[in-house]
Structures are given as C-alpha cells and as structure tokens.
C-alpha cells in the first residue's frame, strides 16, 4: 500500500485512504443521526439511555467527518480526541451490552455487530490514519 507518492507531498487527512475513510465516517454520521432522530422522536420515553447514546455517537461521527475533511493542526487534535472517545465508547457500550440487556440496539451495541462491526473498526482506522499523516502539511 503506497500512501505517499515518491515525489508528491505527504497526504493530507482527506487525500488517499483518507478519502475512503471520510466517506465511511460521513455514511455513519448520517446513519447514526437518522437512527437517533427516529428513536428519540418515536420511542425516547421507552429507553432514553441507549437512544441518547445513539445521538452521542451521531455527533461524534459528524465531528470526526468534519475534522478529517478540514485537516489542519486544530482539526487534527479534534479528530484524535473524537476517534479516541469513539473507540472507548464502542468498547464500553459493546461490553455493557453483553452484560446488561439493552431494550433496543444502539449503534455501538454488541461492538457494532448490527452495522457489520464497522463502528469497532472505524475509530481504529481513524487513529491509524491520523498517525500515518502526522507529518502532513498543516
């Protein structure tokens, strides 16, 4: 896998593999937003905790998408933070959903099994990509 061309400058967070990563992040921002809007509007009173978690996940995905698109020093810090929170979130919620029977799935329930485990993989790839592009132009 060639991330950096032999002559070109190092990639920004939105070029090369970042292009694909941002596409998946944007997709999950939309998916999680849709899910939380639906759940909060239709069933919020039934189980506020998992539905609020879906909304938090949606905000994190949206923020990560924006931060990866913008790049730059401040946005990269935002992206690091958000991806780290996501990873902790999906691990925590995933583990909790194994122990406690959640009344309904959240995006992160069972480590994102309902979404092909992409929620588990995404923050890892995000953090890896930020690490790879550390020398990118600010």
């Amino acid at each position: 896998m060639t991330v950096r061309g032999p002559s070109g400058p190092p990639p920004t967070t939105r070029s090369g593999p970042g292009r694909l990563l941002i596409a998946v992040y944007a997709l999950f921002a939309v998916a999680a937003t849709g899910r939380s809007v639906y759940q909060l509007s239709a069933q919020a009173s039934e189980a506020p905790v998992p539905y609020t978690l879906s909304a938090v996940a949606a905000m994190l995905y949206a923020t990560a998408t924006l931060a990866l698109v913008r790049g730059g020093r401040r946005w990269r810090q935002v992206a690091w933070t958000v991806c780290a929170i996501e990873l902790v979130g999906v691990l925590t919620v995933g583990a909790a959903s194994m122990v406690v029977a959640f009344p309904d799935e959240t995006v992160w329930g069972h480590f994102g099994a309902g979404y092909g485990y992409v929620p588990m993989v995404l923050p890892v790839l995000g953090l890896g990509w930020l690490w790879r592009t550390t020398d990118a132009p600010r």
Binding site: S15, G16, P17, G18, R19, L20, I22, A23, V24, L27, V30, G34, Y38
Partner: protein, 118 residues
C-alpha cells in the same frame, strides 16, 4: 413492494461494488462499465422513487411513512454523492469510495423493503 425492480437495483449495485473493488485492487481508474453501471443504478433508484411515492400515497395500511420516505429519498442521493466524492480523488481510494456507495445502496434497499413489509 416492487420486488423485481429491487432485485435489479441490488444486482446492479453489487456489480458496481465488485467492479470498484477489482479496479481499486488493480489501481485502475473507474472504467466506463463501472460509471455506466453506477448511472444505471441511479436510474433504477429514480424509478423506484416514483413507484414508491405512488404506492405510499395509495396505501392505507399502517406504515412508518416518515422512515420509509427517508430511505426512499435518501438512497437516491447515494450514487451521485459517491461519484462526486470519488471523482475528486483519482486514485484507487477514490475508486474504493464507489464500492462503499454500491454496498450502501444494497443495504438501504433491503431496509426499505423491510420497512415496507412492516
């Protein structure tokens, strides 16, 4: 809902995903067959949109209409957005975006069918 059309959409979207993965692995630009199939997916989705709107208007059974419409309209936006986002990155990674678009269309159409079935 309209199973034949959905089979067509899913098959075409699967072809898009397959061609895109192959092109990305070979580090090739998307060929005309890939772009053409993506356009065919969009065309089929537009037909699905029209039929879906007519069917929603004509049904009186209990249907989560807002969710159905969100999927029905949302899925139409996927191929153009994937195309624009992919076209700006003329490497294998841009091509791979089209594969994500194809898979997304398949998932959304399957969900659409589930929502219609209730």
């Amino acid at each position: 809902m309209f199973p034949f059309l959905q089979v067509v959409v899913i098959v075409l979207a699967a072809v898009v995903a397959l061609l895109a993965v192959v092109a990305a692995l070979r580090d090739e630009q998307p060929g005309w067959s890939l772009v053409g199939t993506l356009a065919a997916v969009e065309l089929a989705l537009l037909v699905q949109l029209v039929i879906g709107l007519v069917q929603v208007a004509g049904t009186d059974r209990d249907l989560s209409t807002a969710t159905f419409l969100a999927y029905l309209i949302g899925v139409v936006l996927v191929p153009p957005i994937a195309f624009v986002w992919a076209a700006a990155e003329q490497t294998r990674w841009g091509t791979a975006v089209l594969a994500v678009g194809g898979v997304t269309v398949i998932v959304l159409v399957l969900r659409l069918e589930q929502i219609w079935a209730g």
